[in-house]
């Protein structure tokens, strides 16, 4: 078993724990901002996991996916935040 395979197993377990915790927070709330925040964490974990898989398997096929995720991560949370702040008149 090579070093990178051991890293892959350990990293997979840690990414999984992080993603499950984010799902728990998305389900439990209590406010919509907590859910937006947890969805953001989930997205960051997805980017990290895709990148880790690319590094471990020595390929670059999902690099464009990484780029698109990094570009459009902003849309969801900012629209929720704008929707939430009612006092904002701009």
């Amino acid at each position: 078993m090579s070093f990178l395979m051991i890293v892959a197993v350990l990293a997979g377990v840690m990414f999984g724990i992080g993603a499950l915790c984010a799902v728990y927070r998305i389900i439990r709330g209590p406010s919509i901002l907590d859910r937006a925040l947890a969805a953001d964490v989930m997205l960051a974990i997805a980017i990290c996991a895709l990148g880790a898989e690319m590094a471990i398997n020595h390929h670059t096929d999902t690099l464009p996916v990484l780029l698109v995720l990094a570009m459009f991560a902003i849309v969801g949370s900012i629209s929720i935040a704008r929707f939430m702040s009612k006092q904002d008149e701009a």
Partner: protein, 139 residues
């Protein structure tokens, strides 16, 4: 050698992701969860980008990774700022957990100024109403 460094960077990123997940489950309010959640978004992605480049060292990969990292660095602070602002304005922040609340002074000053402006406007409207009946007589 580059494999070992890349493996350590991948483990760092995975650890940060796990810490963020545990943080958003265990911390009490939106602002402290925000603190925990922003760690994998920047440092985790940066570590992963360096790891990918170490194992696929070419210019095409490097330029795309710089773009990915640049977009993360530009957009994630904005997201965190907007969520924190919305949380403060919608009372999802536990004031008893704050040590310093610098924005409260600014908010108080702004609402005091707004109230003064409204009172002034009401006075002006009253004065205009009082002056109104004399207008036809003059004409």
């Amino acid at each position: 050698m580059s494999e070992i460094v890349a493996g350590i960077l991948i483990l760092l990123s995975a650890f940060l992701s796990m810490a963020a997940g545990i943080g958003i489950v265990r911390f009490p309010d939106v602002l402290s969860r925000l603190h925990a959640s922003t760690k994998p978004q920047i440092l985790g992605v940066a570590a992963i980008c360096v790891a990918i480049w170490l194992l696929n060292p070419s210019w095409g990969v490097a330029s795309t990774l710089i773009l990915v990292l640049g977009f993360q660095l530009m957009t994630q602070p904005m997201t965190a700022h907007m969520i924190g602002r919305a949380a403060y304005r919608t009372e999802y922040v536990r004031a008893d957990l704050l040590i310093v609340d610098e924005i409260a002074e600014a908010v108080d000053a702004a609402s005091a100024a707004e109230a003064a402006e409204a009172a002034e406007a009401a006075e002006a409207a009253e004065a205009a109403e009082a002056a109104e009946p004399q207008a036809p007589g003059e004409a």
